[in-house]
């Protein structure tokens, strides 16, 4: 990524939180900051990066805010508006203010507002905290720019209407809402990580952004083990990204991936993070999933993977979160320890809860294949292929079925 663009994205939330704190109007401030960022993109290549880029951005955004307030005032009742007009001398104070405060965390909590749908929260976070333009977000989601602009402006309106607005959340507010924040970041990462081949590059940008914002979050909350766990999970999963698709964009399953292509630096960082988080003693779902990812990442092959450890970790995860998908993954891990027959019998006990989900058929097909039942495996591969909504996964399942013909 262009370092200048990255620098701007890193500044965006700091600038926005400074402007919002002063003007108390999240939606208008956000528009003003976007305009300031655009101005920077247009002007800096010619004029050079100013000595204090953050102060420069805050000043430009503040000018836009004043313009906005003036035109609003002309349009509406002047009396109502005049209180939020900041005297010019105070605008200078904003700069010093911005040096002292960084409300990025409050901004992130605001964007991951519980009243928003996940897709709206992700879009707003990408724009306000990530500093991406609407066009960049629209491209990542493969929707028209006008549609994404509407989604973002509705999200801002929802926050405004919820009456929570941008009253900077107190420390007590942040703890319960941290779950919503980590969930939004987790979904943002998955959106990017599960890119289909056609839009691979722009979608991968979402995973990159999710990692960047989660890093930012961990810097603010270094003592939250689940934030560390989430960052570790992202790094340990993303480390395998280039190996998980073949030259034609086809899905390569874990056991067939070229492990020399995994990103060792990311694996080392993720492993260190999750190891340190575990010692804090407040184990949660993200840390457990990260620990499972680390087991895979550290193994030289599927056979050499520490499956008993993975079984133990999935069992703890299942105890915390009684989710049938976790139970399904546990069955897969158990089959690696105790053989396919054990996995198949475990599968029959959980399939009722996953009524008709294609993953049950996919897992059964794998286990039947390992057990030597080629005809049975083929039937279940085909059944799974007929129901998945993932193109890459359907192709993969059909290819598996095809290998078993005759």
């Amino acid at each position: 990524m262009d370092p200048a663009v990255l620098a701007l994205r890193n500044l965006a939330p700091q600038v926005l939180s400074a402007v919002v704190r002063r003007y108390r109007d999240f939606a208008a401030s956000e528009d003003a900051v976007q305009e300031a960022l655009l101005a920077a993109v247009q002007q800096w290549p010619a004029t050079g990066v100013p000595e204090h880029p953050r102060a420069w951005l805050i000043q430009v955004a503040s000018r836009r805010m004043v313009d906005h307030v003036r035109s609003e005032a002309a349009r509406r009742n002047r009396e109502e508006i005049v209180v939020s007009l900041v005297p010019p001398e105070d605008q200078l104070a904003l700069q010093a203010d911005a040096e002292a405060h960084d409300d990025t965390l409050e901004l992130l909590v605001t964007c991951c507002h519980p009243a928003l749908s996940p897709s709206s929260a992700i879009a707003l976070t990408l724009r306000a905290v990530g500093g991406l333009t609407t066009l960049e977000i629209a491209k990542a989601y493969l929707v028209p720019e006008a549609t994404m602009a509407q989604r973002i402006s509705r999200a801002k309106a929802t926050i405004k209407d919820s009456r929570v607005g941008f009253e900077a959340p107190t420390d007590a507010d942040i703890a319960p809402r941290l779950r919503a924040v980590t969930h939004v970041l987790y979904l943002m990462f998955n959106e990017g990580y599960t890119a289909s081949s056609g839009a691979e590059l722009v979608r991968a940008d979402l995973a990159f952004e999710a990692i960047r914002v989660t890093r930012m979050l961990l810097r603010k909350l270094p003592d939250e083990p689940e934030v560390a766990g989430l960052l570790a999970l992202m790094l340990l999963t993303d480390a395998r990204r280039t190996a998980r698709t073949g030259p034609g964009g086809e899905l390569v399953p874990l056991d067939e991936q070229d492990r020399s292509r995994w990103d060792r630096a990311q694996i080392a960082e993720g492993t260190a993070l999750v190891t340190a988080a575990f010692t804090r003693g407040a184990v949660g779902p993200y840390q457990l999933q990260a620990a499972i990812a680390a087991c895979h990442d550290e193994a030289a092959s599927t056979v050499e993977t520490d499956w008993p450890q993975i079984v133990a970790l999935y069992s703890v995860l299942l105890a915390i979160d009684d989710n049938p998908m976790v139970a399904l993954n546990l069955a897969i891990a158990e089959a690696m320890v105790d053989g396919p027959a054990a996995g198949l019998s475990r599968l029959t006990t959980i399939e009722a809860r996953l009524a008709g989900h294609y993953r049950v058929d996919a897992v059964r097909a794998h286990l039947l294949e390992r057990a030597g039942d080629r005809a049975g495996a083929r039937v279940h591969y085909e059944r799974a292929a007929a129901r998945t909504t993932s193109l890459a996964e359907r192709d993969y399942l059909l290819a598996r079925a095809g290998r078993l013909v005759g």
């Binding site: 709206s120 006008a146 897969i332």
Partner: protein, 132 residues
Amino acid sequence: MKFMLMMHAPGNGPYQIAKWPLEDIKAHIGFMKDFNKQLQKSGELVGCEGLSGPDQAKLVKADKNGAPITDGVFPESKEFLAGYWIVDVDSAARAYAIAAAASMAPGPGGKPVHLEIEVREVMSGPPTDYLP
């Protein structure tokens, strides 16, 4: 998640819009325009198009040199695709709700046409890493 909503109209049934009274045609078109505008405003519309009638339709296949062979016209087809929307929504339930709203488009006399809308999820990328 994205869905395609396909509006199927009966070839010889009540959707022979050209035979409706002018004001009903206007009301129907007005409804559709407004409907599309609402979808755009809600930040869910990816795209939508109306298609020309089945009497304009051709079936095309390649001959042995790859040149097109056209076949048609098919005025008597029982059902035809009149148009489609692609929406990006948070759930299948929301896609069904949008389809139901479109199905309520007014027909002759302003009564809802109750058109049948086929809803299909657009295939996306792989959802999770594949374990062996």
